[in-house]
Every structure is written in C-alpha cells, then in structure tokens.
C-alpha cells in the first residue's frame, strides 16, 4: 500500500476502487489497522472545515435563543404543575388552616444601588455594614441579605466597612473574583469594562476566591491583591493603603498610570466624554494626586501644567460634555 493512496483516502479524493483497496489493506492485519488508525486520528484532529464563522455564529445564536425559550417554557410548565398540585392540596387543607393562612409574601426582591456619575453614594446595609460607592459604581443584593445571606454583587469600586458576624460570612462578588470577609474594612475595584480587579485591605482579614469557591489568597491588613488581564496571576503586595482608599476623601492618586486610563476615571467622575486624539499621548504615564471635588476645568489645568497636552471643551445639548486632548509638539 503506498502512502500516497492512504493520503488520497484521508483527503476524500480516492475513487471507489481506491477506497476499496485501502479498506482491504486495513483488514489485512492488525498492524495495518493500527497504522491507518494513527493516521486518521492525526488527520481528523488537524482537520478544519472552511465554513464562514460569522454566519455560523449568527445561526448558533438563533438556536441558543430557541433553546432558551424552550427551557423557559419547561420551567413554566413545571411551575404550573406545582401550582395545580398546590391548588389540589389547598382544597383540602384550607378547611383546616384557613384562618391561620399567613399573609407572608414569598418572593425574592432584589435591591440595586447605583452611584450617579460624578458622585459618591454612602449606604448602610441591613446588617449594619457600611458601603461607600464610588462614582458610576453599582451594587446589588437580594432580600435574603437581612436573613444572614450576606452577599453583594459589585460592579465598579467601593469601600466596605463590614459588621462582624463570624457565623455569616460576607461575600463580595465581582465578575471574575470574589472576596470573602468576616468583619473588616477594605476597598475593591472591579470595573467590568476595564478588565482588572484590585482589592486593598485596611483592617481585619479577607480571602480572595475564584468562581469555583477556591481560596486563592488571604490578605493581611495593608496588603493589596490585584489581578490584571494580561498577567494571569494574582499579585499580592504590601501597599500604602491610603493611595487605594484616598478617593473616599475626594483625593485621587495616580500611580504611574496611562493617560488613557486616567481619562476613563475622569469620564466617570465628571460625566464627560474624553477623546484623546493621539495614541502616543494616551500611552504616556502620569504620577500625582488630584483633588476630585474641584471643577473639571481646574483639574484639566493641573494636567496641562504637569503633562504635555492641551484640551478643548465642547459643551453639547442632551449629551455629556465632549473634551478633546491633544499632544503638544
């Protein structure tokens, strides 16, 4: 058997006669069968069709949507079955318990608190814990929070001062990692669109968990754990916690950060839109502290003095003010 013929067969280019010849050869001995099997295994694993992926994905979304509807229908049917069963039982039981039938409503309420752009929001949770939400950040929690399920979903940045309760751990969930706490104060940054996660512990102790509930790190006071997309690792380091929590006092320190990242912060605080008209400028780094509660033009003046850009402010009706940053050559 020539190798060329096997290859032709694998490619699907063999004639019916050739195919028969290959098959007969395979049946001749265990060795032949093994050899062919090995080839085929490699061939199939390196095979690639040439379908249009975009079209395929669109079709996939349609099927996925249909599947979702089906599941929803199934769920409704299941609920309906329980409901019918309850009515059936209810017919009997209500004679006995009619008067004691409680008025308790059973539903799962969800609370969402969102801090408006340009403002911080302070709130006290049902367990007495204190949360300070940074501008544009959002937390969500369920009604069972007050019944010991201390679980918060965070998008953005917040400072937590958690009421101690060793029996009911307090969990902060973000998109990629979770924090488990027993009574402490700490800061978390988990902006979903910036693809990073950072938490700083001021006092007490917290654990950083992955989504499977596995503990990745335990922090001591004064430590920061950060996770950046490109690095695929959690970096735990001792830091000056003031830098990470200073936003509470309206002070913000940039730690050698790119101007394009700083622009994102400013967009959030002042509810403006910033367009940097030079890629080079966006990658330039800045180190310094600014006072956040000053008007935007004063902040921009400070930047102008200490960096290499000029700006242009364009107020717009019904839309956030537009600001252009340009490099000074």
């Amino acid at each position: 058997m020539t190798f060329e013929l096997i290859l032709k067969y694998l490619k699907g280019e063999a004639s019916p006669e050739e195919r028969k010849a290959v098959l007969s050869w395979i049946d001749e001995s265990a060795e032949n069968k093994e050899e062919f099997t090995n080839w085929k295994r490699i061939w199939a694993l390196t095979e690639k069709a040439s379908e249009n992926e975009d079209v395929a994905y669109k079709n996939f979304l349609k099927v996925a949507e249909r599947e979702k509807q089906k599941n929803r229908f199934r769920k409704i049917m299941a609920q309906a079955a329980i409901f019918i069963l309850l009515i059936g039982l209810g017919g009997v039981i209500s004679y006995v318990y009619f008067n004691s039938a409680s008025n308790q409503e059973i539903y799962q309420a969800k609370y969402t608190v969102k801090s408006p752009l340009g403002q911080m929001t302070e709130l006290k949770l049902p367990d007495g814990s204190f949360v300070l939400l940074n501008s544009g950040s959002k937390i969500k929690y369920n009604a069972d929070f007050s019944r010991g399920q201390r679980e918060i979903f965070l998008e953005g940045e917040a400072f937590f001062d958690v009421e101690k309760d060793t029996e009911h751990p307090f969990t902060v969930k973000s998109k990629v990692l979770d924090i488990k706490v027993y009574g402490t104060s700490f800061n978390i940054e988990a902006y979903p669109n910036e693809e990073k996660f950072s938490t700083t512990l001021v006092e007490g102790s917290i654990s950083v968990m992955d989504k499977t509930g596995k503990e990745i790190a335990q922090l001591k006071p004064g430590e920061n754990a950060s996770y950046a997309k490109d690095e695929n690792r959690l970096i735990v380091q001792k830091v000056n916690t003031g830098i990470y929590t200073s936003w509470r006092e309206g002070l913000v320190t940039f730690r050698n950060e790119k101007l394009k990242d700083i622009a994102k912060f400013i967009e959030r605080w002042y509810n403006v839109e910033i367009i940097i008209r030079s890629e080079e400028l966006g990658d330039e780094r800045y180190f310094g502290t600014i006072l956040k509660n000053k008007p935007i033009d004063q902040i921009l003046e400070v930047f102008k003095l200490t960096t290499v850009f000029k700006y242009e402010i364009i107020p717009r009706a019904n839309k956030p003010t537009l600001i252009y940053w340009d490099k000074i050559n």
């Binding site: 694993l45 390196t46 395929a56 994905y57 996939f60 998109k175 490109d230 959690l234 380091q237 830091v239």
Partner: protein
C-alpha cells in the same frame, strides 16, 4: 514593597465561566471549523457535521461552569462532538456492505479517542510540536493545506511552486509527523488492538 505572585486561571477563562458572550463568541469562531471538520471526517455529511458542531457549542455554553481548565474547553467540544458522531453512526441506515465497513472503521477510531483524560491535550500538543519542527517550506505547505483548508492549486500559486511540489511537501510533512509521533502513538497500540 514585598511581592508575592500566585498563578491563577487566565482572565479570559474566568470571563468565559462567568458567561461573557464576547469571549464565548471568540471561542466559537476559533474552534467552529475544527469541530465541523473533525465530525465530517467520520460521518461524511457536512450538513450534519454543522448541526453537531452547533450542538456541541450549545452544550459547552450550558455547562461552562463545569469546565475546569482552559484545555478543558477543547476536550469538552471534541468529546461532545465524538458522542454525537457515534450516535449518528449508530442510527445511520447503511446502503452497501462497503459503506458499512467504512462506518465501523469510523466508529472504532472515534472510540479510540479519549478526550476526557490527559491524552487529548498531549496528543494535540505533540502534533503541534511536531508541526513546529517541520522544515520551513514543508510546514508552510502543511499549515496552508490542513489548517487554512487551501487547495493544492492555491498553495502552489501562492508560493510560486509546482503542484507536484505541494503534494511532495504534504507527504513529507506527514511522514515526518508519523516519525516524530511514533513513540507517542505506540502507547495506543494496546488500546487499539482491543477494539
């Protein structure tokens, strides 16, 4: 500053698990043609291969929380595809004796894959490593032919070489792969003989 690095799962993988549709779309587009191609090698029905691939991705999406590692995504997709191909072959009405023999062969080879354990990622890695070690021209031709799905004619035009030379290079590449994978593949002999 004291530093302490801890290796954890990649950010993309975490996003995948948390149900990020953008990442899923990326995974879909990067692997769709591989899964369709894989299925079609065994069931010889492109339409059905598309369906099976689609179904495999749907399963991946619904079970994303159960996938433990990044490699697990590939294993999951190929396992789902394999199971469905076997199902399809089991219920397929066969026309001729000849087709029946081919089908049994397909089934046996499909069964010989064990995507659940480490073997799959090892095989995948071994194949990739072997391809990297191919002589330059040989590798280019092989990749264009196998991964980019180009016809020999197109490859010949692109590289400015004769069709015959394209064929020779593909054959050379495969022989080379066979040699460098021999040790790896011999582990599987026992397994195959028991089929």
């Amino acid at each position: 500053m004291t530093k302490d690095n801890r290796e954890i799962l990649s950010y993309k993988f975490l996003l995948f698990k948390s149900g990020d549709e953008r990442i899923f779309q990326e995974i879909f587009k990067a692997n769709y043609n591989r899964i369709v191609g894989f299925c079609n090698q065994f069931i010889f029905d492109l339409d059905m291969s598309r369906n099976i691939a689609q179904e495999s991705f749907l399963k991946l999406w619904l079970n994303r929380k159960k996938v433990q590692t990044e490699n697990g995504i590939h294993s999951f997709l190929y396992t789902a595809a394999r199971t469905q191909c076997l199902d399809y072959l089991r219920h397929e009405k066969v026309k001729s004796n000849f087709e029946k023999r081919e089908m049994i062969l397909s089934q046996n080879i499909l069964k010989s894959y064990d995507f659940d354990n480490i073997e799959f990622s090892e095989l995948e890695e071994a194949v990739n490593r072997a391809i990297e070690n191919l002589p330059e021209r040989c590798r280019m031709v092989f990749i264009k032919s196998r991964y980019e799905g180009k016809k020999n004619r197109e490859i010949a035009d692109e590289l400015g070489i004769a069709i015959k030379s394209v064929e020779t290079n593909i054959t050379r590449a495969l022989k080379f792969l066979r040699k460098s994978l021999a040790e790896f593949l011999s582990i599987l002999i026992a397994l195959l003989c028991s089929l």
